[in-house]
């Protein structure tokens, strides 16, 4: 048993094959739109406005609509309207597979229940996932949470995580970076990611990576992503009066020791390592 997405579960159960899954995901991507795209379509925002909101999202942990209101680009009522429309159009994987005829509607409910039971062990808050040595570490809980949120908000990557006994991603296929937070609270935050995940997260953080960047650039960009996570974590603590500093990213090798978390994502695999 391991942490997984519904699509992986369906393949393992022999209910769909990889091609069905790809078709469903492609169709979903044409139906599901982010709030900024929707606002541009309605003429409420310009593409530059959405870029401005995305920039701000790197600096503060808040959804697109909330920041657009803060910046005076949208009224709260407009955000509510857009969110309603977004939800109305939203297609989930199961619905897409049914729509494309790869799964029957009757079977979908049963499979969703089975999936929920299979994944119940992982359906816990990030704080509950922390090992006993980090249970009281606010910055560890905040950072774990931010890895999920910022992956989704900046890169559109959905992340599921589960504690792991060791780092399962090593060798040439692993792209590594780490940062260190010190001060009122301290934490080492390291990530090993496969090429797809590292490019997706790093590309979102740096807005630069091309199609075939060098290993050095990919790890550098992954380090920038961790910088953004750690910077947001520090900002949250500073608002509570706890001052922390951030050391520059270290690239190429994970620090020894620490607690590992497997990252199963919509863009690839990774391992997050937290240490005191």
């Amino acid at each position: 048993m391991s942490v997984k997405f519904f699509g992986q579960f369906l393949i393992e159960q022999g209910e769909v094959d990889a091609q069905h899954l790809r078709q469903a995901i492609e169709w979903m991507s044409t139906q599901n739109v982010d709030l900024g795209t929707l606002a541009v379509r309605h003429g409420l925002l310009t593409p530059e406005d959405t870029r401005r909101v995305h920039r701000e999202q790197r600096r503060q942990d808040a959804p697109f609509g909330e920041i657009a209101v803060q910046l005076g680009l949208l009224a709260p009522a407009q955000v509510e309207q857009l969110l309603r429309e977004q939800e109305k159009c939203r297609v989930r994987l199961g619905e897409a597979l049914v729509k494309l005829g790869h799964l029957s509607e009757g079977k979908l409910g049963t499979l969703l229940d089975a999936f929920k039971t299979d994944q119940s062990a992982y359906d816990v808050s990030t704080t509950e996932m922390l090992p006993s040595s980090l249970k009281d570490s606010e910055i560890a809980a905040v950072s774990l949470d931010l890895v999920k949120k910022l992956s989704a908000r900046l890169a559109g990557v959905v992340v599921k995580m589960a504690p792991a006994p060791s780092c399962a991603l090593t060798g040439e296929s692993a792209f590594n970076a780490s940062v260190k937070i010190r001060g009122a609270q301290s934490l080492g935050l390291a990530m090993a990611a496969d090429l797809d995940l590292a490019k997706k997260l790093g590309g979102a953080a740096t807005a630069y990576l091309g199609k075939t960047p060098s290993r050095e650039l990919v790890e550098d960009a992954l380090g920038e992503f961790l910088n953004v996570v750690a910077g947001n974590a520090i900002a949250l603590l500073e608002r509570k009066g706890a001052h922390c500093e951030l050391d520059p990213p270290r690239l190429g090798q994970l620090p020894q020791g620490g607690h590992c978390f497997d990252l199963v994502t919509s863009a690839g695999r990774g391992v997050l390592v937290l240490s005191k």
């Binding site: 740096t206 650039l217 500073e238 951030l246």
Partner: protein, 136 residues
């Protein structure tokens, strides 16, 4: 009199330096005259190149951006310095950068609009300096 705005970019991130160089290369009248990957290297490069503008990261190894800013304001007062950061909203850090003499604090990753505005302001500041014969 040279009308080009000369710029040095300082960042420990290779992607940030490459992105800045690419975007600045698309701006007319801007010339990158040097790069550095930490604060200590920045002090040497800026002292030699004496650019109109330095765009410098905050968190860097060896000598961080704020420490380098403090040194450069004394050693190369003719170069104006903008600080760049990808970190979450820490108003204290931006305030400190302004207190130490930064002309602007911008966020990373860089984008064209932001750099256009920065370069336009700095061209104006350069023109005023040249017209008045004064320094920054």
């Amino acid at each position: 009199m040279d009308d080009k705005l000369t710029v040095v970019v300082v960042d420990d991130s290779a992607t940030a330096r490459a992105q800045f160089t690419e975007l600045a290369g698309q701006c007319q009248g801007v010339e990158i005259v040097g790069t550095a990957s930490d604060g200590a290297e920045a002090v040497l490069v800026v002292a030699k190149a004496k650019p109109d503008l330095v765009v410098m990261d905050v968190v860097m190894p060896n000598l961080d951006g704020l420490a380098a800013l403090r040194i450069l304001r004394t050693r190369v007062p003719s170069s104006r310095i903008a600080m760049a950061s990808s970190l979450g909203g820490s108003p204290g850090r931006a305030e400190e950068a302004f207190r130490l003499g930064a002309v602007q604090v911008i966020s990373k990753p860089f984008d064209m609009n932001q750099l256009d505005t920065l370069f336009a302001n700095e061209r104006e500041a350069k023109a005023q300096r040249q017209a008045g014969g004064g320094r920054s």
